[in-house]
């Protein structure tokens, strides 16, 4: 079984003209093992999305090394992405921007199927697998709701026959009632095809629902890592404890959670 993503002491810096560089990820190390669902949590700006971009070859590493099933990940720039890395796919945060508005849904799923045309599920099966009616295949993205679009984006990623799926805040722009639903769907479709899943979110309650293991990041560093329940019941780091304390509880009493200081 393939689909192992390894971050080994990776550092990512963003240079800004005329201003000091920002270290978004600072010597972060962790791995996503084959078939595993890992939740990557942390507050905004802690480097979660940068790690996702690094894994997809969208930003270069200033130090350390990222590999996918042994293949080093480097930015592809204007070249085509290396074939070995195509089995790593991403679902983006904004479902309104991640589908080409001018192409029908079926055509966009076909583009993704083209990577492994022989083994890829049919467009109809893909739509069914994410809970959409295959009859909707001829529609354009604007004819779908945000949640439906995110399902299509998941179907597109799955059409490539991925070994690892990265969800970069895939539920952040969805209605609260849909978040758990889409997150669970993502876990289910990934596990059904032996795909590992790296689920990035700042929503800890949803991560708890779907992740086997949790990685906690703070200011570019990995501060805690462990099985989900263990991190939840016995968080070791003070930062993790504060994060967990900040989960809002709907008790009807108007309790405002303690906000984790940056």
């Amino acid at each position: 079984m393939a689909g192992e993503l390894v971050f080994d002491e990776v550092t990512v810096r963003y240079g800004r003209p005329g201003r000091p560089t920002v270290t978004a990820v600072d010597r972060a190390s962790f791995r996503v093992r084959p078939g595993e669902v890992v939740g990557l949590v942390g507050e905004s700006g802690c480097g979660k999305s940068t790690l996702a971009k690094l894994a997809c070859g969208l930003v270069p590493a200033a130090g350390g090394r990222a590999t996918f099933d042994g293949t080093p990940i480097t930015p592809y720039g204007l070249r085509k992405r290396p074939a070995q890395l195509l089995r790593l796919q991403m679902v983006f945060q904004n479902p309104y921007a991640s589908l080409n508005p001018r192409r029908r849904v079926a055509a966009q799923l076909q583009d993704a199927r083209a990577i492994h045309p022989a083994t890829a599920p049919s467009v109809d099966d893909l739509l069914r697998s994410v809970g959409l009616d295959p009859a909707l295949r001829t529609r354009y993205p604007h004819q779908f709701s945000g949640g439906q679009r995110q399902r299509i984006a998941i179907a597109r990623a799955m059409a490539t026959g991925p070994d690892l799926l990265i969800g970069d805040e895939p539920i952040a722009s969805l209605d609260a009632s849909l978040q758990a639903q889409v997150a669970t769907l993502m876990r289910d479709v990934a596990l059904a095809s032996d795909t590992s899943l790296l689920f990035i979110s700042h929503d800890l309650s949803v991560v708890r629902l779907i992740a086997d293991r949790v990685v906690v990041m703070q200011a570019g560093r990995v501060v805690e890592e462990g099985p989900t329940e263990q991190v939840w019941s016995a968080p070791q780091e003070a930062y993790t404890q504060r994060l967990l304390a900040a989960i809002p509880l709907a008790d009807g009493l108007g309790t405002i959670p303690d906000v984790a200081p940056a």
Binding site: C56, L58, Y76, L78, R79, K80, R81, A83, L86, Q89, M90, F92, Q93, N94, A97, S98, L99, N100, P101, R102, R103, D111, A112, A114, I115, A135, T138, R139, Y140, H142, Q143, A153, R156, T160
Partner: protein, 290 residues
Amino acid sequence: MTLVSTTTRPRRRVPEALRSPLTVVGVVVAAGWLLVVVLGPLLQPADPLAQSPDRLAPLSAAHWFGTDSLGRDVLSRVIAGARISIPLSLLLVALSASVGSLLGAVAGLLGGVVDEVVMRLADLVLAFPTIILAMVVAAALGPSLTNAVIAMLVVTWPQYARVTRSLVLGARDREFVVAGRLLGIGWFTSLRRDVVPNVAGPVFALTTLDFGNAILLLSGLSFLGLGTVPPTPEWGLMVSDGVQNFTAWWVAAFPGLAICSIVLAFNFIGDALRDALDPRMQKAVGSRAL
């Protein structure tokens, strides 16, 4: 009820977008001019080059649009002019839009040195008044119709390059373009499949607006003796000729109306096509039924 059924088949709504009154006017006028271009010589009541002593004659049964300062029939000249001005302007707009948008798209996508070189060249051209630079180029190449088109191409591509580049820059980092690249396609496929279709609308609208400029630029060069040469019945030349005979309004008015009508017709058609080609515009129609 029909609206509900069409939401599942967006293709059906394209004719709807083309059914607005202005669009119909545009299509009818443009089709009329196309007919004139095709049938040209058959429609002329007189030889457009034949001079007569009957100078600056007002409208009459013999000369519906009057005659010009050399006694030539204005109606015949307007009809003959359609065969020169319309195809030439279309050719010019097509050429400058293709060259300009391709350069702009490549500059926007590749960035770096390519971007700098292309855009500084564009700045260089834009720094000069259009007609003066076109004159310089046309004069350097020698007066002929081909050289006039080349000169106009040189001065008109930068606006397409600028618009396309800015649109491509905006589209390049959008998530669906990145998502496409993650599927392993090269930059050229990405440009063709994800970027161009999403930036084509504004560029398309620009070409329809630019059609009028092309006719005017062509007329200007002709007026200066660097494009078409008298006695060629070119619309711009005819307007310039009419301006010198202010009292005989018909000499300039009819070719002017011809320019005006074809430019407006193209603008109407361009607007309608831009809307029809954009599936998101169809939502405005369909959402009422949803």
